[in-house]
Every structure is written in C-alpha cells, then in structure tokens.
Symmetry: D2
Subunit: 351 residues, 4 copies
C-alpha cells in the first residue's frame, strides 16, 4: 500500500485498523529539546474521541495515549515518537450480520477491489478510527508551531443546512457541535437529534483559520501550500471538497473584484485566503471543506453483496449522525502537520 | 525549493521560468517499449499554447517540443524523457515599468518573501508558462493510460457567471472557450470580449470526467485518489477549490440522499464522484475546480512596491481575460499524471 | 530526524530506543493475500536476539513479536503491519556511572552534537536493539521473496583474523558464530572467549549470497541495485565497508581478467557479483561487509566527558565480543527489504 | 524507471543518454541569493571531460554548460536550475558492428533484461557520460558548501597496482592521473600507456577527504551519513566497493585498537573515518572506493549476442584505459550532493 506516510521532512506514518488491537502513529523529524507534556497531546485526543456528548457515537474509546519513544525527561529527543492507542471497545460481532454486504457510502467494495481481501470487521483502515493517530501527531506539530506563533482553529460552519451567521471563537469548544455561532449550534443539535431519531445523518461544512504564519511558506510548483493542504484535507475520509478564501465564489467574480489590493500595511482584502502562487502571504489562511453525511444510517438501503447478489441492509452500529464535530480536531491536526513540514522545508531552503 | 517533482513511481520534474530561455520537464518511470509519436505530445501542447484564438493571450509561443532523451526508434526506452520548449516570445522589457510593484493577485510579494529575490521579468515559476512542461508530461501519461482504456476529458462548465446547461462532449474542442454547451459557449465568448474591452477578467469552473478507471486505484491513507487529484489540481496556479461528485452540495444532504446504493450492475447513482474511501469504485470519476479570474487586468489598482510605498499600477501585458479555456488541457494533464502513477503503484502492491 | 524510513514502494519505518518501553516497525506496501505465520517472523527474531549462546551478550530480550495490524485470518491484508517488541531487560542504571562520558567508538558524542540532547541510557537509536524492527520487517519481505524463488543467506566469513577456508551452507546455523566453515568456527569461538577474558572485542567480515534473482532488477541511475544494497548495509551500525563480487580486488585487476565473459549458458565468471550497471544479471549476487570490533570493551579507555574534561572509563555492560554472529540476520533482513522493493519497482515500471 | 533523482531536500534529476542529443540535470532546492559564476561550474566540467590528456579517451565533448534556468543577475534564484550539455561527438555508427553482442563488463545484457529494449548506440544511461550532469550539479552544491567552510578533495590512491606512498594535495591536479604522489603518478602514466598498447585496461582505488564538516550531520537510522555516501558512490558506474576510515582493515582489529579515544581537543585517531553512528564527528571524513577496470578493451572476448549465439568481439571505440582520473571529479560531485543535502536536513530538524 505504502500510502500511510505523510510529510517530507516532518513525517508521520499511521498504522492500525478500527477493529484490531490498537492504532497509532510514528512521528519522525521532531525538533529535539522541546518540552512536550503528554497531557498536551491527550487534550487533543479527548476532542476527537467518541462518546463525548449526545451528538456523537456512544462507542467508548478512552484513547489514552501511550508514548513509546522519542521523549526523555519531558522533552523531545528528535528521534521518532511512536504513540499507540489501544482499541478498547471493539465489537467485531456487531458487523457479522452484514458481513457479506457492501454498505452504501462505505469503502467495503473499493477495499475489496483494491486488496482482494474482505475484512468484514468494520471499515479497517478506512475507518475514522485511523485519524486518532493523526490527531496525536498533529498535537506534536501544534506544539512546535506554538513556538512560531502560529495558531490553528477549525469549527463547524454549516451542519444539516443550518449556517453559522456569527463568528465567535470562544464558543466553539463550548458547544458539542463545535459551531462558531451559539444560536446556530442549538439548532444544529436539534437537527442531529431529529436525524438520529429518523435513522438518518447529515453533512456539513467545516472552516479552518490559521493565523501567525509568516509570508513565504509553501513550495512551488507541485507542493504549493494550498495544494498540500488540499491533499491533507481530502485524505480525511468524509471530505468531498475544499476551497480557499473566496473559493468557488471566486469563479463568479471579475479580476477587479477578486484581486486583493495592497496598501502600506499589507493586503486590504483576503479573497486569496492567505495564499498566492502557492505561498503564504502573511494574511490569515482560511479554507472550508465539504463533509459528506455519515454513511452509516439505520434506514434500509439497497446494495449488493460479495456474491453479486442484491440485498437490503440496515446498519445498526454506533455512529455519529454528523461527523463534523469530531472532524474538527482532525482538520486542525492535518493543518498542523502541513504547516510544520513547510516551515522546516523553508528552513532547509535557506540554510 | 525542491517542490518541482510530482509522482511516486511515475515521476515528473519541471524547470524553467516564463521569461528565461526555455521551460521543460523530465518524465521518469515511463513504461518501456510503448510507441509514442512526438506529434501525439505536440497535439496536447497546441491545445495549451497561447494565441490560439481571440479569447486567449496574443503572446506567441510555438511550443514545439524537443524530445532530448528517452525515445529510440519511435518507442519509449524506459529511461527519463526530457522534453524542452523554447521560450520564443520573451519580452522582459514589457515588465520594466512595474518592476518594483507587487501586482495584485500575482505571486510577486510571496515569491520575494520566500526567496528574498526580486525577479521582475514576469511571474517566473509562478507563471502559467511552467504548465507547458506538465502538458508535455501529461501527454506521455495519457498515451500509457490509453492502453488501459482510460480516457480523460475536461471542459469549461461555467465562465463569467454563464453556466453550461447541456453536456455535449463533441463540441468542447470546437469552441474557443472549451465549453460543453455550444449555446453557453457563444455567450461566454461575448462575455470575454466585453471584459477585454473593459480591461477586466473573469473566473470560471472547469469540470473533469475520467472514464474507464478500474476499481481499486488509490492508496489509503494519505495518498487517497481524491487527495492526490486535489493536490494536483490545486498545484495549478489559478485554482482555488475542488469538489468531487456531489461536492459541496453533499454538505447539505442527508445520508439517505447521498449514499450511492448498489444493485447487481453496480452503483445506481454517483454522488461519490467515482471515489469511495479514497479508492476508485469503477464509476466515472468527476470533479470540478474553481478557477479565479486572471490577476492581470489593465484597470488601475492600488498596491505596494518593494520599498513599502503605496502606488497605483496598470498592467498592460498580453493576458487571457479568462484562463479557463487554456487551463483545460493542464487539468487533463495533471489527471493523467495522477492516474498513471496510481496504476503503477497498484501494480507494485500486487506484484 | 526523518531518517527512520526505508524503501520506495515496499516501505518500513522503525521506532524505539534501546532503553525505552519497546522497539518496533511499520511495514507498508505488503502484497495482500499472502499467508504469513507469525512463527515465520519469530524464527528470524530468534536468530538475532541476545543471549543465544556463550558468544553473545547475556542481555535477555525474549523478542516475542506482537503483530498489531495488517494480518487477518492468517493472511496479509495489504495495510500497514505494525510489529512491536517489548524491551524486557532494560537496565538504564547500568549506565549511570558513565553517564557524562563519551564512550569511545560509540555514538554518544555525535548524537549529542546532532540533537543537543544527552540520553545516557545506553545508545538510544544507535543501539543494535533498533535492528530488531528491521529483522521483523525483513522476515515479511523474505516471505514475499520466497514466492519469487529468491533465497538469501549471510554468514561470518572472517572473525578476529580467522578466515573461513571452506563454504558449507549447512553448517552456518549449526555453530554459534554463524561461520561457513566448521573448523574455522571452532577457532573463532576460542578467539571470542579469549577476547572476552581480556575485556576486548574483535571485528570480522560477513558475506551475503542472494540466489534466484531474475535479471533486470535495479534502477539506474542513482538507485542502482548495488547502490541500494550498499546504503542498506552501511545503515547497520557497525558496518564500515562493502564490496561486491571481486570488490577491492577488482581495483588491482586488468579488464581482460575482470570482465565476465559470456557463453550461451550465461556468465562464465562472476567478478561482477551478479550486478552490472546497477542491474542484476541473473548470476548469484555476492557481497561482503566489514564489521568493526564491538565498541564496548571493559579495558580502561581515555575519553572526554560532556563538560569537556578528560577521563578514563571502563564499560562493564552486557556486550557481544564480536557482533558478527548477530549481524548476520540483520544483513539478510536488509537484503530482503532492498530486493522486495526492487521487484515491486520493476513491476511498476512495466505495468 | 524513476531512479534518476537523488536527494531529499537538495535534489537532482539527471537525463540523457550517451549517444542522444544532450545530457543534463535539474538541481532543485538551491539556496537562493548565492552568487554563482557559470565559470565555477564549467571548471568542474573541464576536470571530467574526455580528451584532457594522453591518458583519457580521445572522444571530444567540449561540455560547455548551458544554464537554462535558476540564475538571475549572477545569483541563484532558489528555483530549479536546469543545466544542459550538448553531445557534440556522437558516433553511433561506431557501435554498429557490435550491435547485437553483449559486451563483457558492460550493461548491455542487464539493460535489455530490464527494459526489453535494445539500444545499440553505446551504453545509454549506463554510460559515464551521464555523470556530466552530476558534476554540474555537484559544482552547485560545492559552491553552497564553500560558504560552510567545507572542502572536498578526491584523488587516485592506487592505479594498476601502483600505490601512492605520499600524500601531497598540491600535486593532484598537476598530473593527468590525479594521483596524490608525483612519483607514483609517473609510474601510473607509464602503466596506462602500456595497457593501451596492449589493448587492455586497469582498475584502481580513489580516496576522498572531506574537511570542515561540523559534527552532528547524518540521519539515523537508514539515512546515515556513511550509508548515503555509500549509495552515492556505488551509484557511479564502475565502483565495486567502498570503505570508511580503517574500513576492511577494521574487520581485523580488536576494539582496543580500533576505538578512537578522545582527549580535551577531540579524537586522537580517526579509524572511524569521521563518522560514528552514521553521524559526522567533526574529524576528517575519509573513504576509499574500488574502481573496476574499464570494461571496453580491444582484445578479443567471448560473449553472447541477443540471439543467444556465442561470438567473439573486439571493442575498438574511444575509451579510457583507466577511469580513475576522470572518476575523481564525479566522486567529489557526489560527495558534495550528499553533504549539502545533509546540512539542509539538519537545518530542517532544528528549525
């Protein structure tokens, strides 16, 4: 497979399946000598873990990190950090009744086609569980970025058709859907309960803002900063699109509207979303991702099984009616990984 | 810099600036023994070259390919192909009056911040001219994909606010805006002439369809097929967003609407855009990209110069009022590169 | 650091320090659907583990593998295999008396210079313990190579000045020094006991033969088969040199002596060591590596400490008087990794 | 093929065959803003070019560099440098009489096996001509290393059985065999003329010394500094072995002899060759490579042709009786590439 590694200089490799013994990550290329409290990483894990609230899956994974290497006397050593998370609430038998069917929206069919192997115990590597390792690695990168004055925040911008109309960063972690508008948050929670009752799910839009990035980051030609962020975000299971700054709206603008003019204090507007020519321009980096509705729903659906026969299935597992609230820390983690790698690449260029 | 290489197994490296002697590409990892007529590559170059019609820049680059290596007696040898394109219509002096100003929308400021070097002769590596090498390399990949039964077509879906309402593949290369709807094409051409007269520009949406891809391509976790396509597309200068299948609309759907059900003949719908869990599912792969308006406009704009002073500039170069028609072959080329690499990676996995 | 990954298509990443909780490896890019018994991997681990005989360190590491992912129902899944080995016999306190000194021959000084971190608990990543993960990964590659008809065998060719004069493959695993000549083996054992009594150590030469490799493997220009093998072997801690075929003796030959002539049945001689122009030629691949004497000796040695002061140290740890017997399985493992990667790259090229 | 790229952060990609239109290289990741005179690069090219003296091939390649990109107003821009060298003295017809035979010692058979393509026009990518691009790229790296106070010198240590007995750096470029001992140099020249008259060739040993490298360079585990140097050197066509410091002699030493003791001023000896645990220790880095005799000799040799028939061939081309004098600048170039990449990687780690 060999697609389990991300990064050029600051590199992570994840392993583990949703229903195996454990999942985890190796983080290589960590700046040595940086104080790193395991609780700092654990905090990010707790934001991603299931069972946080009434709007997420009741699957219980305590997601307590086990740092196997790369830390000595409270500081990074510069050698690879391996962080392991036990899978404590595996229930492979929950899947046995649908073990031969391809669940709509899931990667069952495509994994079988790719590997020629049928693993019916949940989604394997395609499971959101794989992102636990990313969040752990992202926390390491976040710590390194803090020293650079970079901060990253993501939040639910839209969920189930309900848009945030205000932006208040202080409320994001105060509501279970991680919306940036407390009024919209209440409506989103209602929507989720309604969908859960109906055995359905919904999608949404997650927005991410990155501040404090110095101008000049990103590598032309292929490894543009936005290209790398796009890859990183689309590598998250449920993401179906991304746009930077004005994004798809830019497609409908004229140049005289879209171009960000400058004055002596910098850019007057930010249609570019903080990136021009693939390189950070010092303005806030802002992008949005389209999150598809959770594939697992309990309504009956038509599908095919591995014998080529049509069948109807109902998936009564433990699922999130919308993945947006839990995808937020994953988006932040991936953004951290991209940026730390780019900072280090810029340092290499100028050395 | 070291961001000039793309691909894991089928690898390309581009070089050259817009106003230097030449641009070009090295293609490494080409299947040996495949018949490859230079005219096949030239045909793709001609689709990208400037001066094709009244809607593109009058800059003349004949873009005649010079294959320096990797072909012997009409067949690929498996050794690196180097393809060089002379820059025949350089006019660096055209830029001398704005040589100290940061042109809005251009990468002038960000390149200076990245490299600490001011090259006032046009956009250097950030220029669309760099994509000539990609199109040449993409043509090599396209030839290899033909053997696999894969076909790729991109076209202008929206331009200047005008949407295509029909899809007729046969008309795409028959109209200068490369729209899939001949009626919309006429209106788009009118729009471009109108904008050119007003010294303005416009953005648009380009859609790409890939057919004949076998199920099972794409590498979980980070190198998902859609993640790689997203990176490849966002690596094209003017692209500000991408969406697959239902894309951003999926964010507003319920799971019961969005999930693609299956029957014995395959998927009934294609909201996924041909990719599930990062792996091709055998359905048509379909995505759209948001193209920003051309940054170069001849209207006066406020900006800063390299001395930190505010100034007004007007850019009277030779520019495309909308880049959509010429970005189409670049989109196809990048898609070809991604797919050929993924086919080869799949072959390596199963060997 | 980011130097913990090896391979292009078949990729491994190791983690862990000698005196941490555990060491291990992630193997990515494994052919799916291949039967793989954990005992097959364990067998290789047992060949590398300490405490096997009177000639190796008495440090006890049972080195029982824990396969965390990538295997389902006895077969590889194609997803990353993570294999973990607990460190069961850590004694960091054993190092406390020399915690500020740079041990001669060890990487204490260079690690401090590289990372700015002093970890006095043994050799960290520079320890031979890190190779446990490589041997586990190498066993996976060996299983894949078996399907291709490739076999790999390494053995002690010289130890402490005692040369093997015969080659009998069947005796290698029957003597504790893994020599290919049972008479020389006896003398080597005597030499080791003598050195152990004197608190000294010795070096040696390990030879490796690879059979059944098809002609055509290896990538010109930089990734030649011998170049990759050289990197892989020099990446093993104590290795100071490598030579292929006639090797350094070739430097003293004339072309008329060295050139391997061919007849209708193939090469008549094998001065090339099975590789010409960086590509396998179908003959046996044969190379030798120079192994330096174990750095840890109990004789007093002059050195410097981290405060820049001179001091005398004696290292009374648990060490191998010669590392040759235990480096043999590591050499084989690295050779397996190189070859499996090259086979897969060749498959990708021709797909 | 995809083996034409070397380096992680400072990256080069070569292209071109010996009997094609041109050969060349792309250098990516160059520090921007560094003054770089083309004559500086040309000087290195002139050291490698054929026809320099009576001891090298009379093939005439003026090897005048053409820098296509990456330099502006005498300074590096940080964008990829493409350097092209025309092949001015191609004589493919010279090979037509042996076009179906596998020349002993050459890569004819292995290339055919690898690619399934027979290109009878000389050695293609396996030709020493490919190294012209490496030398050009190496000169760029050398310029960057000069700023760091690093100097690299290689020279012929042994040729045709004649050993240098003194080391005088000032004489190396003053004698055509690039020996470090002027007396031995005279004898080597005599030997070459004698072999040339006899239609034979000889091998030799080239030694390289690198000074001024700061301690701490090199990446454990797989990308050790010596491992990377070994790969880089073995990637040069005729090299069959490498050893660092005491090298193969270390295999015969005891630990008490081999360990380099330290005092307050550093290492007292340099058996390690300047690298311990894969990381530079601040001492001179010293290694030797075994160079095989030139494969092309004019004596009759037995071989096979592409039809599987035995035949006798005589190769009357234009060849170097010993490649040592011309391999010297290639060895230096590769060493420069490895070191510059490692410096940049170290900068990235600590950023």
């Amino acid at each position: 497979m060999a697609g389990s590694t991300y990064g050029e200089v600051f590199k992570i490799t994840t392993f583990g399946e949703s229903h195996g013994i454990s999942v985890g990550v190796i983080v290589d290329g960590v700046t040595p000598g940086v104080e790193l409290d395991p609780a700092y990483i654990q905090k990010q894990m707790d934001r991603r873990k299931p069972g946080q609230s009434s709007v997420t899956t009741p699957r219980k994974e305590y997601d307590t990190i086990n740092i196997v290497s790369g830390i000595f006397e409270g500081k990074t050593t510069g050698t690879p950090m391996c962080i392991i998370l036990q899978n404590t609430d595996m229930r492979p038998e929950a899947y046995s009744d649908i073990q031969n069917a391809f669940r709509p929206g899931h990667a069952d069919f495509t994994y079988l086609e790719k590997y020629g192997i049928r693993d019916h115990r949940g989604s394997g590597r395609a499971s959101g569980r794989e992102t636990a390792g990313r969040v752990a690695a992202g926390a390491v990168a976040r710590k390194l970025l803090e020293r650079r004055g970079v901060s990253i925040v993501a939040y639910t911008k839209m969920l189930g058709g309900i848009e945030c109309e205000t932006f208040d960063e202080s409320v994001i972690e105060e509501n279970p859907v991680r919306a940036c508008d407390p009024v919209a948050a209440e409506r989103m929670i209602g929507k989720i309960h309604e969908l859960a009752a109906a055995g359905d799910s919904c999608g949404g839009i997650v927005e991410c803002r990155i501040r404090g990035v110095k101008p000049g980051l990103g590598e032309p030609v292929f490894d543009k900063l936005d290209a790398e962020l796009a890859k990183a975000m689309l590598s998250i299971g449920a993401v179906k699109g991304i746009e930077f700054g004005a994004g798809f709206a830019a497609a409908g603008m004229n140049g005289s509207e879209h171009n960000d003019e400058m004055d002596a204090s910098g850019y007057r507007t930010n249609n570019a979303g903080g990136i021009i020519g693939g390189i950070s321009n010092g303005a806030e980096i802002i992008f949005r991702i389209a999150v598809k509705p959770t594939s697992s729903i309990s309504r009956p659906q038509q599908t095919m099984n591995i014998f080529g026969q049509e069948q109807t299935i109902e998936t009564h597992g433990r699922h999130d009616p919308s993945i947006c609230p839990r995808i937020v820390p994953v988006v932040e983690a991936m953004a951290c990984l991209v940026l730390e790698d780019m900072y280090k690449r810029q340092a290499a260029l100028h050395d």
